[in-house]
């Protein structure tokens, strides 16, 4: 109720806007805003700091990556073979990982992993030229052991890849078999001359220039020395002559190393217990991708040919075509690739009177000569042999335009204060040549003269359309005297009557420097002298062959008074275009950058290019070329025997086909093929032929398991003779490939047993009655030792007599088999041809003594195992292939294929004994007294000796290097010193081009750097970075 009546309700007061308290609301808002702003600022700053830290870390990573790549690049650029795409080592197509590098300050070491990937053409020889071998000379040497036959009974650990020095004499003689590298004369030669071997680049990190798995011998006396621009590694250091002797006769810029097993203190350094076949040194030998042309590529990347990839069909090698020669008429002859088994036919051509050029077209030539007694003999006088793509000449039997024949001077003379010969010269724009030193008072003239252009233009050449002199030299400014026209060339031609042609070497666009070689613009002599002289040139008829071949070029240099000037003649050659028959240059007759040749030498092939004395008018030049299967351009490829086994390089698996038949079988011999005879003897068949090994009637594994309890049984009483004869069928009807085949080995086995008391049988005799004029053979002939004759079994189970095997049927290998005797069936005039084998009779005869009593003889099997190679199939190299022992102080060694029965010319083997002295007739290749050999490529002959004692060979024997069992070298010098082997730097290579990638420990890519090495002068003299990207590609 309202007091006082109705009351007006109190007016409701409306609050004014702005009177309400809202400050507290704004304050938190402000706080929040300020806090957020502050936090944002702090966060911003933190982000900035964090970003800086991250950026700083990235910079450290960048530095680390750059440092690691720098280390990797340094390693690669100082190792010439690294970065070469096909080299197989680090930074090749096979191996990109260079490992991890520790970078960062000490204590903060961080590991950066670097990969290096070469470009597809990195380091490859330009224009198809072959690679050079890792070692200019790699000699395998000989070693004791069972050799390289690869026979399953070879003792464990025996190395099939080892050459054929076996241990006939091991029990009593020096186990050292053969030297690796020998520098010096033969025993019957004088001692005045010296051998020189100049190695390759000698750059740090290079592989050894010379690597010998045996000794390195430098015979004292004369100027013999081993000059190597790098390292020499020898396995044996033997005294007194089997040794590497640094400081005495060897000058090496590198190291002389003897590997860990070297026992330098002993006379014969390799302990017989060292373990045959386990030598690590051989690893390198196997690493060479020794493959024949036409073989499959090394797909598994192990650097070796793979046995499973062998595709060559050794039975279908095409015959090569041997040209005919009409003495006095034929001037040039051409061989075609293919199979050659007749050295006499080859000799007929290369020794044909009138022949001047023999050309082997590019391709693969298989030489398989039947006897070492008939080798490929020395070509006739003035014969040039060239294998490969012609270089500057055109093959023709008539006259044709021949362009750019290169004439290189062979002889030099020096006058005044002249001439220190430097390395290899006369390669235009090479890096060495002749130094011409001119010092002293006055203005004396120093000169060097070049004459004697060998491999001349032929006498019938005419129409000389171009005669140009290429010349390169370097001369310091103090040797340049324009007032008097020095330096200059004085050119003359013997017999021309022209006098001298003086050509000042003017300053042209080139700049004379102390060390820069100047390639002078070509000096054209086509129309006469471009300088002063030769006024009668035109009136005398100009050029003719005699005048060209008689060119004489003298380089003259003067110097300012009181000065000393050293100039250098780097190269000189004459280019001639003419019309006539081809006349290749030497060296340079073939082009190693184009298709080359490969001479595959097998069987008893030998190259005996030794002249009577000093005839230097004949030469052989072979060019190997880089192919898909042979990067080293092996122009000479000596076929090892059974080279390899599962997992190893397998050059030529012996294509032997084994035919084995057994007497008691139901398939062989044919009905009527068995003749059982004997007066008073009863022959019956017994048992049931079995197949104990389950491999069928002709199991591959033949042998004692053939004793299957079935055969022929003879019974008689008293003194009788029982004979069982088996006639062989026509083998060609069974196996067509045996027709015209080479019989490699024939093994005869008889399993028999005789029942009765001891002494009731007098003997067992096996006989062979060949067909086609072969001689009958009997086991009791005088040449067969008693130990090899069949004996009465004397046991209930019988015994297997075997003749012609490697192993002893009773228990493994025989240490001293008498192979010349045991191989008589297959090698002698018995069963050595398919014609003599087919239809031959095999006989076993049992003779009983006069003692009374019953006799019972069982013949369980007569087996004949025939190994043969189909016609025109390759045989591995065999026979007499050695020349000297490792240590001439003892002259005790063996070195012959044990299969080789020709005792007359087997080195160190005469029958079953050892011989002494050198065996010049035995090496695979002999160059002596004049003939020149130049292989623009490499030589591969791991089982053979090379004996190269060329007289002024004028070029390396093999530019790319050599792999051989033994190398003898001597008298390889003349005024032009050059490598005997190696020097393959002349094969121009493409620059190495690599991509480096750096990764951190977590595998993150940090940087990518692409580098191109300039290898023109020296390995990676400059490294040019073409791109550098960080992480994700940001430059």
């Amino acid at each position: 109720m309202r007091p006082g009546g109705a009351r007006r309700p109190p007016a409701r007061t409306r609050a004014r806007r702005g009177e309400r308290g809202s400050t507290l609301v704004f304050v938190p808002v402000m706080i929040v805003v300020v806090a957020v702003a502050g936090s944002a600022l702090l966060e911003l700053q933190q982000v900035g700091l964090q970003a800086h830290r991250i950026e700083s870390d990235r910079r450290v990573e960048d530095l680390d990556a750059e440092s690691a790549i720098a280390m990797a690049l340094h390693g690669v650029r100082t190792r010439p073979d690294w970065g070469v795409v096909t080299a197989g080592g680090p930074c090749s197509e096979l191996d990109h990982d260079l490992g991890t590098f520790r970078v960062g300050p000490d204590g903060e070491d961080r590991e950066i992993r670097v990969e290096c990937e070469p470009a597809a053409t990195s380091g490859l020889p330009a224009s198809g030229a072959p690679d050079v071998l890792p070692n200019a000379v790699f000699t395998v040497g000989g070693a004791t052991g069972f050799g390289n036959e690869g026979h399953p009974v070879d003792p464990p650990g025996d190395d099939d890849a080892l050459p054929f020095c076996h241990d006939w004499q091991a029990a009593t003689s020096n186990p050292v078999c053969e030297a690796g590298l020998y520098i010096g004369p033969r025993e019957d030669q004088g001692t005045s001359m010296g051998g020189v071997l100049v190695g390759a680049t000698g750059a740090a990190g290079d592989p050894p220039v010379v690597r010998s798995n045996s000794s390195v011998m430098i015979r004292p006396g004369g100027d013999r020395r081993l000059s190597v621009g790098g390292d020499v590694v020898a396995r044996w250091e033997c005294d007194p002559e089997g040794r590497v002797r640094a400081g005495y006769a060897a000058t090496m810029s590198g190291w002389v190393l003897h590997e860990t097993w070297d026992n330098a203190a002993s006379l014969h350094c390799l302990s017989p217990s060292a373990g045959r076949g386990s030598e690590a040194a051989l690893t390198d030998y196997r690493r060479y991708p020794h493959r024949l042309a036409g073989w499959a590529e090394d797909d598994d990347g192990d650097g070796r040919g793979d046995p499973s990839e062998v595709v060559i069909d050794t039975a279908t090698l095409p015959n090569g075509s041997t040209p005919t020669c009409v003495p006095g008429v034929t001037k040039v002859a051409k061989f075609s690739p293919g199979y050659y088994a007749d050295p006499a036919a080859i000799n007929t051509v290369v020794q044909c009177s009138g022949i001047e050029l023999v050309w082997f077209e590019p391709g693969t030539y298989y030489f398989d000569f039947p006897s070492a007694a008939v080798p490929w003999a020395l070509p006739g006088p003035n014969v040039q042999i060239v294998g490969g793509t012609p270089n500057g000449w055109t093959y023709t039997t008539g006259a044709a335009a021949q362009a750019d024949k290169l004439m290189v001077p062979q002889a030099t003379s020096a006058t005044s204060n002249c001439c220190a010969a430097l390395e290899y010269m006369f390669d235009i724009d090479s890096y060495s040549g002749y130094a011409v030193r001119n010092s002293g008072d006055g203005t004396a003239t120093a000169s060097v003269t070049f004459t004697g252009f060998e491999t001349p233009v032929p006498s019938g050449a005419a129409a000389f359309t171009e005669v140009t002199l290429d010349f390169a030299h370097a001369a310091p400014s103090r040797a340049i005297d324009y007032d008097t026209g020095y330096p200059r060339l004085v050119i003359s031609s013997s017999g021309s009557g022209w006098g001298d042609c003086v050509v000042p070497l003017t300053r042209t666009a080139a700049v004379y420097t102390e060390d820069g070689t100047i390639a002078q613009p070509p000096i054209t002599l086509t129309g006469g002298c471009p300088g002063t002289g030769w006024s009668s040139f035109a009136s005398s008829g100009g050029w003719n062959p005699a005048r060209l071949n008689g060119l004489r070029v003298e380089y003259q240099m003067r110097r300012a008074p009181g000065q000393t000037a050293v100039g250098q003649v780097d190269g000189l050659r004459v280019r001639v275009d003419y019309t006539g028959r081809p006349a290749p240059s030497y060296p340079g007759g073939c082009d190693p950058t184009r298709a080359g040749v490969q001479f595959v030498l097998g069987g008893e092939t030998r190259l005996a290019w030794n002249a009577a004395s000093g005839d230097t008018t004949r030469w052989i030049e072979l060019c190997g070329s880089r192919t898909a299967t042979d990067k080293y351009g092996f122009a000479i490829y000596a076929l090892p025997e059974s080279y390899g086994r599962a997992g190893e390089a397998n050059l030529v698996p012996p294509p032997s086909v084994v035919e084995t038949r057994e007497l008691a079988g139901t398939q062989y011999p044919a009905p009527g093929g068995v003749t059982a005879s004997g007066t008073g003897v009863t022959w019956t068949q017994y048992g049931t032929p079995a197949d104990p090994d389950g491999a069928g009637p002709l199991p591959a594994a033949h042998g004692l398991q053939r004793v299957d309890g079935a055969g022929w049984r003879a019974t008689w009483s008293g003194s009788r003779t029982a004979t069982l004869r088996v006639r062989l069928p026509d083998l060609a009807a069974i196996e067509p490939s045996i027709a015209n085949a080479r019989i490699e080995r024939v093994e005869l086995r008889v399993h028999h047993r005789e029942q009765g008391a001891a002494g009731v049988y007098s003997k067992v005799v096996a006989r062979v009655y060949p067909q086609a004029g072969g001689s009958t053979w009997a086991s009791d002939s005088p040449g067969v030792p008693a130990a090899l004759r069949p004996a009465v079994s004397g046991a209930a189970g019988g015994v297997t007599w075997a003749f012609g095997r490697y192993d002893d049927p009773a228990g493994g290998p025989r240490p001293n088999p008498d192979w010349p005797v045991e191989r008589v069936l297959g090698r002698g005039n018995h069963l050595n041809t398919p014609a003599r084998l087919s239809g031959a009779d095999l006989e076993v005869e049992f003779q009983s003594s006069t003692a009374a009593g019953d006799r019972l003889v069982e013949v369980d099997s007569i087996e004949l195992r025939v190994e043969y190679r189909p016609a025109r199939s390759l045989r591995p190299l065999r026979g007499c292939l050695t020349t000297r022992v490792a240590d001439l102080s003892t002259v005790e060694a063996v070195g012959v294929d044990r299969d080789f029965t020709g005792s007359a010319d087997a080195a160190y083997i005469a029958g079953n004994s050892i011989a002494t002295g050198d065996h010049q007739a035995c090496p695979l290749l002999v160059i002596e007294n004049g003939p020149k050999l130049h292989v623009a490529g490499s030589i591969f002959a791991p089982t053979a000796a090379l004996d190269v004692r060329g007289d002024d060979n004028d070029a390396p024997y093999a530019l790319g290097g050599v792999v051989a069992r033994h190398v003898t070298i001597f008298r390889n010098t003349n005024a032009r010193q050059h490598p005997a082997f190696g020097g393959g730097g002349e094969f121009q290579r493409l620059d190495r081009e690599m991509t480096f990638r750096a990764y951190d420990a977590g595998g993150r890519l940090l940087a990518t750097q692409h580098v191109v090495c300039d290898d023109t002068d020296r390995p990676c003299a400059t490294a040019r970075t073409t791109s550098y990207r960080r992480r994700d590609g940001a430059p």
Partner: protein, 191 residues
């Protein structure tokens, strides 16, 4: 203290219900939502604003200091990087000249021009030794005396690890040092 929501006069006491009696002044009773809490708000506001201000000032100070350090670090790192690049571009030198402690940084003409307040120097040079130069690239860094010690005693295989240190001048938070290392080859790449 409270405030009258009507006239804003302060009310200190009295019968707040006297308006019901006769004779008493009719005073409007303000509505409840118009009552003032102003003093509390003000006090709280002052406190909070103070805190905010203090915090803000502190943060600003920290930011200033940090920013300065950040700037100095950035400058130092940049200079260190520049110095490292300068060293990398210099010819490869193995041994320090007589009287110097480092193969690098001794030539005034080649001074990289490190700004004032910063000091850059090479504090260590090591050479790389391959375990086997003919084989792989494995090896180790070996410290050498700056002058390479006795003649012939130095084996240089062409790789150096150079440790560079940069020291800042005193700042608000004192001085600091930064260190990096780089690897030099005997022949520098030309990019």
């Amino acid at each position: 203290m409270v405030r009258d929501g009507a006239d804003n006069a302060p009310v200190t006491g009295g019968n707040r219900s006297g308006g019901h009696g006769p004779g008493s002044a009719r005073r409007a009773i303000p509505p409840a939502d118009e009552r003032g809490a102003t003093l509390v708000e003000v006090v709280l506001t002052v406190i909070l604003v103070g805190l905010v201000v203090v915090t803000l000032v502190s943060a600003l100070f920290t930011m200033t200091v940090t920013s300065d350090r950040h700037r100095r670090l950035a400058v130092a790192d940049a200079e260190l990087r520049r110095y490292a690049e300068w060293l990398r571009a210099r010819p490869y030198v193995v041994c320090a000249p007589a009287g110097h402690t480092s193969p690098y940084g001794f030539d005034a003409l080649d001074d990289p021009g490190v700004p004032a307040g910063l000091t850059a120097r090479v504090v260590g040079v090591e050479l790389f030794r391959y375990d086997d130069p003919t084989e792989g690239l494995a090896g180790e860094w070996v410290a050498v005396a700056p002058d390479c010690g006795a003649p012939g005693g130095q084996v240089d295989e062409g790789l150096q690890r150079v440790v560079v240190e940069l020291e800042s001048g005193a700042g608000a938070d004192g001085s600091f040092t930064r260190t990096v290392s780089l690897v030099k080859r005997t022949t520098e790449l030309s990019s």
